[in-house]
Symmetry: D2
Subunit: 312 residues, 4 copies
């Protein structure tokens, strides 16, 4: 099953479960995979930036992809960002063979000019093979690479294999509007736009034309509902639900290891991960941060009973 | 009246009002100043990053400070960030003479090492004079300069004139805790910590030890109430109010000219500014963005009647 | 006398002379100006990056331009780079009135995309007035802004006022070849290309099509001779002279205040400046650095008698 | 044979030879290795930044180390810089087993504060094992990470495994003087300092206290002679030889793929590499660049007969 530009809905960014001693926690990985199937996601992205991919050896990465592929029936996107095309190609070919539907590629933070960015994606697609569908990750806040709508259009039009844009520019609403305008005026073919950036603007991004979400919020059920409600033009209900989650969502969306620590902590409290451990070098929550999260979740639970599980 | 390290409460960052043709709008400036007094702020910061200071000529900057000083009885902090110490000194001396209580200094984005950052503030304080109280602006997201708590402590301890930290690191909660720990263990004297970053974490920052807010949200009344409620240990009420504003606050907190455009638009709709114009080069809101803001504000108004005014 | 795109030859970047106590040294400024006339330069750039412009107050900058304009008959280019268009406009209008031929504008280091760079120069030219000839400063090493040849072409073609490119990209030889190719294929009008970057590649840059040099080497006589010899197709002689200077030229070309300290030291030893003082914050040479420079100059003097003066 | 802090002399950075079709050229690799032995280098660094390491698959990197180790009797340093500690550890352990003497680690360009830099090297040493000697690569121009002398001292004193500093800061002479001062005042143990940055300041760096060179100039024989002559206090002779090479050395030292292209071209013309091909994505010299290099080398040959071979 290959990733295509018609993918829509919610494709969570999954963390990588570890035991406290640093080993990959396979039982948690299986449990998380099954849970994502149960709640009805439309795919999953693994080994992304927050999947602690750089801490995994090549063989571990492959084992994780194999384990997910064995029990997950929807498209699996695998992060293959690497400092060189050799490592990128090796991982991309391996994971496609193991059942991935496509790969995600972030730009190196040394790219500056429009031509450098377009050239990089051309070379990357050549390196991994034009038969491997890929996702552009557009996240200036993390990567310091700014892609104008025109640059994205050039990448899309030059590379048949480009199936999707992971949109996490900020501010980014008008960018979605511009890209959808390119499609309407015929200057760009359609690609899927799924939004990241922690989902911080999901409520309006879907209204602007995004096809869904591709982010790692600890309650993907909410993302699914908001995308669905917006699709049904039930605007107030979509915002009511989104707003109830926003105070915690904002907390989780903090950059770097702290945001991941919050996410893993909540997934542990929800019974999905056995531990919230990160592999070293790691960050951990202070007692005060955990109390703040508990408090925020207790408030979400007043509106969304799915946060109730958290209370036990 | 000099700025001291005991300042607490809410010190809004005020925008600079312009006419659509680019002239400074003095009537709006007066109206805004009086409104800030009425709602009970504890000071005001003008000519900051979002005050479009780089678009103002020296004489205009002085005129604005003079106009505010004439009718505002609380401390006025003036942004004097400049690429060179000559311009910084000239502006700092001029505005202090006109009645400013202190100045705010952001680091140039070329600083890298700890020693460079500490050295910069030492030289800046020497340049403007040790009698001029100053505020450190710690905003890595905007300036790409990362100050550890130890670096802030060094700046505070080396410079008697340092009265306040405008804290807008992100993530930043543990940083406040660490700095307050330095005070408790006696390794750092007390300075005021007022938080910026659009107020996005104000609800917890005050709990962590911040003395208040120093940011430009279009409803400073909310900031005032949250700071007060937290001070009275009315946690749930503080969060209830904060959370009601958060969906719009998040929208306004978008980086760059878009965030400012939102803020000016709301202040115009609230009757405080005659126009939401920015001086060129400027950004303006699309019709869709204005609709989104209107929608968000209508939702805030369900909880906070002060957003009702917006509806007229 | 306005700067035009037909300027050729050597236009030194002049330092700003200071007394050890930080005051502008007007006698040295006059002496330096007269010396530049005597050796036959084709213009001069003042208040550039190495002219310590950010340490000068507006009135001082104006006084320096006035002093140079009074005794210098060739085009004077003035650096007006500023964080905001208001200060840039104010300085540009003032210095043009005082007799400047044009201004030089470096891009702010926050620009990223091609459109941002082109837009910046459009706005800058609008701000200072389309009647003010300007120079693009293309120095990625200092400013972290990378301009492709296409971007430079867009700036040139959009702005009639663009008269010259100060070329200091590195590597940069092929860039000159590409830009001159644009002229030949009719896609770009002619602009003057004078090279900076300390002159480190002047020997080949002139062969590639540069019109001369716009840099601050302490022996502009050498730059003049190399440009002339290359123009006369006396390649070996040009390189012989250039190579004799290269060991010291490389030493002077060190980034930041150290390079400037070397340059001012040599100009002092040559009797042109009364002091090698920089205004604070300043850098000064260690005794070991001075010895190294003396040694290098004694070696240059074996080939170029003009370095003899240094020995006295 | 482990790398120790007593290593001195010249340790060239070796390029990776490729066939025009992109395969590793093993015959050239052997020939280059034997040539380095013949000219008397004191070690070799492979898979460094200019060794095109990111374009090599893990198995290829191992094969190259094994091939060099089989015929080279001096210390082999292997670049193991990687975006994550897992890949760094895997490569470091593998190459040490294959006979490497130590590894070289460059900092990721996202590091900012002093503590982040020190913490990174601590974590890296833990990841690869405290038994693996490592080299700090201090190259701000390439990596945008600025290490003060104090930061280097902290890394050296915290990590027994730190054996050497590859010094390529620019300006950097006073940094060497400061570090050697730390040794004299007893605050830092001795580590080897070998200089990179293309050797652009080798003539003075050795006088300042550097133990030699660790760079990739195409005539390492010159580097060897300059280090030896300086050691024998034959200053003028050292500079005479260095200065004869400087015009070409400067040309080769251009950043990025162009500098490497020049180096490989000259090594090919010298009969050491069969081809100057880079693996894709690659850069190649224009005809004009090749002519410029030929011209420069013909001038070097007037003084250094070893450049004569180039003429055939």
């Amino acid at each position: 099953m290959a990733l295509t530009s018609s993918i829509t809905g919610v494709v969570p960014i999954a963390p990588t479960p570890f035991h406290p001693d640093g080993r990959v926690d396979e039982a948690s990985l299986d449990r998380m995979t099954d849970w994502l199937t149960e709640i009805g996601v439309d795919g999953v992205t693994i080994l992304g930036q927050l999947g602690e991919a750089p801490k995994l050896e090549h063989s571990e990465s492959k084992a994780i992809v194999a384990a997910v592929a064995k029990r997950f029936a929807k498209p699996i996107i695998v992060g293959v960002t690497a400092p060189g095309f050799a490592a990128m190609r090796a991982l991309a070919r391996d994971v496609m063979e193991l059942g991935a539907a496509g790969v995600m590629i972030a730009p190196p933070n040394t790219l500056r000019t429009d031509d450098q960015i377009v050239g990089y994606y051309r070379q990357a697609s050549e390196a991994i093979g034009a038969d491997v569908p890929f996702v552009i990750q557009d996240y200036p806040l993390s990567f310091s690479v700014v892609m104008t709508p025109s640059v994205i259009r050039r990448i899309v039009m030059e590379n048949e294999a480009c199936a999707m844009l992971k949109h996490e520019d900020w501010p980014g609403l008008d960018k979605i509007t511009t890209l959808r305008g390119f499609e309407r005026d015929g200057s760009m073919r359609h690609v899927s736009i799924l939004v990241g950036n922690g989902g911080l603007f999901l409520d309006f991004e879907t209204e602007r034309g995004a096809d869904g979400a591709n982010t790692g919020y600890a309650f993907p059920e909410m993302l699914i509902d908001v995308v669905r409600l917006t699709g049904e033009a039930r605007r107030d209900e979509a915002h009511d639900l989104f707003d109830a989650h926003l105070p915690y969502l904002r907390y989780e969306q903090q950059q770097g290891p702290l945001g991941l620590a919050a996410r893993k902590y909540v997934l542990m409290r929800r019974g999905i991960l056995a531990s919230d451990a990160q592999r070293r070098p790691s960050a951990s929550l202070t007692a005060q941060s955990r109390e703040e999260i508990d408090y925020l979740l207790s408030r979400v639970a007043r509106v969304d009973s799915r946060a109730d599980a958290f209370r036990r």
